[in-house]
Subunit: 363 residues, 2 copies
């Protein structure tokens, strides 16, 4: 936890809640939401603490939302509902890049610059791969060492258990909580695995792609269409002997970008060199983001995109829920598997398999 | 209908079926599937006619599959089931391009070349836009004038009514019927609207993108990521004054392709100039496709892709069906609409809206 210094009154038993369970609030903390008992804080109090900048309460609230315990989740939702009018005031920035592109050193440098400028910065991470590796993207304590200690920063790794859809949902709501807590800039970091970039693109205003010199070579390892998601391409590690090569790479990317569709209508995706080590391109990145927001606010697309992102999210959740309900039914999974095998053997048409599947599920 | 010359015995009342209704077989034809009545052909007979090359029966069978009448659809499915062991032996080629890129003149030239070589060629079209415009992509009788008359060719416009998902399903099954009828090459034409290219990419082996000279300018009008779907980019109308410019455009595309992920693992997407007028690049296109098939058969990806396409189709159909069932319930559409409005106003979190929606639907 990075919010220790902000300990406030009433937070002691919240603390105990944190320590008692990791994936849930625990009964003791949950009870705090019942106004009947004294010395326990209500949703109102909790939400006020968050709005007043208690990182401890913010962390706690995120844990509630992420919990697999129904009562915790409900408490988290009530809290979010309460805070909803105070959300939406940040700029939401997605950051992706190939492994080794230096995402965390960039976030450290960029985040520190913003914090020093007086902005409150929240860093969230979406890492679908760590479900497999078992490690968390931000678990490495040496990452973002200085940013972690900055009083204006809040760093939160996403829980990696569960489906990507789940991460999706929780990260969005975490983002909203951070906004209610007064964070001006939300940085959402993701690695190029599965659908994570598309999901992150679907919840941010601005999308930033970090690459290395020698365009093309390392893009081979990236997902298709990644460049067309980006509002800015940063050729990172443009320092020392690499600086000249970075310039050339920037020119190459600019040329490619000319042929691609821009990620945001009315905005020309840019490519710039940057070095977190030599502090090159850090302030420029922020200027570009500000000019982006300006341009898209004027055209109306900024608001339009946010609204359509929210709508898409709702409709994705409907599909997710329908799929969950469907596969929760007894035997559905095995029936689907065996029908799939029949189809692949050429024994059944897909249409027939569908008819059989939905007939079986009715009876 | 282009299959008149192949009239066979027993086809007379099939003909009357064609004329009686457009979106269904009509009661008379449907009865042919009941073996009890004499002078009527059974599924067995019907499937034999198709396999023997009757374009009339093929056209009729497609109409059955496309029908909105349940009995017709069932008959079509029984027929497809019967024919399933005879499918899969064609090369499936998707063709897309910006409006004005000359898709139909290219298909005419390419299709005629293939027919003259002795291949049987089926041309299907997917045009989601014509639902709005009301016109069919192949409705214009002047298109593919010569190919239409070739004895080795079968041209079938897709029905454009209904959802793209529906077109998707029908086009796949139409493709299978054409394969059972002995067509060696299936050309699936689509226009760059909505999800149609992605859907077509999901059902073909090879995907061909037609562009014009001056790369970049006309790509602005195309969907994002379209180049990363293509196994071959043809710079079309490379004739007369345009020939030199086409060469330059080819070089530009080759350069961009170097930075993009190839559509098919183990295959380097190529760019070539072509002219349907001057018969340039037509045979080369076929050579490239043959070399593509060779390469991917050796690596195993050819079969692997087909199997994963079939699996994806099955799973897409499950989602489609679940969505249909969900929205068929009374009030669902209006509830979703009003919840969406609540969310956008900031009165509800998405999670709360989901809970309410699925609670309402249960009760």
């Amino acid at each position: 936890m990075d919010g220790q210094k902000n300990q406030q009154k009433n937070s002691m038993h919240v603390m105990s809640g944190i320590h008692s369970t990791h994936d849930g609030m625990g009964q003791a903390t949950r009870k705090q939401f019942r106004k009947s008992q004294k010395n326990e804080i209500s949703v109102d109090d909790f939400s006020r603490e968050i709005r007043q900048g208690s990182r401890l309460h913010l962390a706690k609230a995120i844990t509630l939302l992420e919990s697999t315990v129904s009562a915790d989740k409900r408490a988290g939702q009530r809290l979010l509902q309460e805070l909803l009018p105070h959300t939406g005031n940040s700029i939401r920035i997605g950051i992706t890049g190939v492994p080794g592109a230096g995402k965390s050193t960039f976030i450290e440098a960029f985040g520190k610059f913003l914090c020093d400028e007086g902005f409150k910065v929240a860093v969230l991470a979406i890492d679908p791969s760590s479900t497999i590796s078992g490690g968390s993207i931000l678990g490495d304590k040496t990452r973002m060492e200085e940013l972690v200690r900055h009083e204006n920063a809040f760093i939160r790794p996403s829980p990696t258990a569960g489906t990507l859809g789940g991460v999706h949902k929780k990260s969005r709501e975490t983002m909203l909580l951070c906004e209610a807590a007064g964070y001006d800039v939300i940085l959402i970091e993701t690695v190029g695995v599965g659908q994570s970039e598309t999901i992150v693109r679907g919840m941010v205003d601005f999308f930033l792609l970090l690459v290395l010199t020698g365009a093309g070579d390392e893009l081979q390892g990236m997902k298709k269409g990644i460049m067309e998601l980006a509002d800015l391409i940063i050729v990172h590690k443009a320092d020392g002997d690499n600086a000249k090569m970075a310039k050339k790479t920037v020119a190459e990317y600019q040329q490619i970008l000319h042929f691609l569709q821009p990620a945001s209508p009315g905005w020309t995706t840019k490519a710039i060199p940057a070095s977190s080590k030599d502090y090159v391109g850090i302030e420029e990145t922020w200027q570009i983001i500000c000019s982006f927001k300006d341009t898209l606010m004027k055209s109306g697309f900024f608001i339009e995109r946010r609204q359509s992102q929210t709508k898409d999210w709702f409709h994705t959740m409907i599909v997710d829920r329908l799929m969950d309900q469907f596969y929760e039914q007894p035997h559905t999974k095995t029936t689907v598997k065996s029908l799939e095998a029949e189809i692949l053997k050429g024994n059944k048409t897909v249409s027939q398999a569908i008819e059989q599947l939905f007939l079986d599920n009715k009876s």
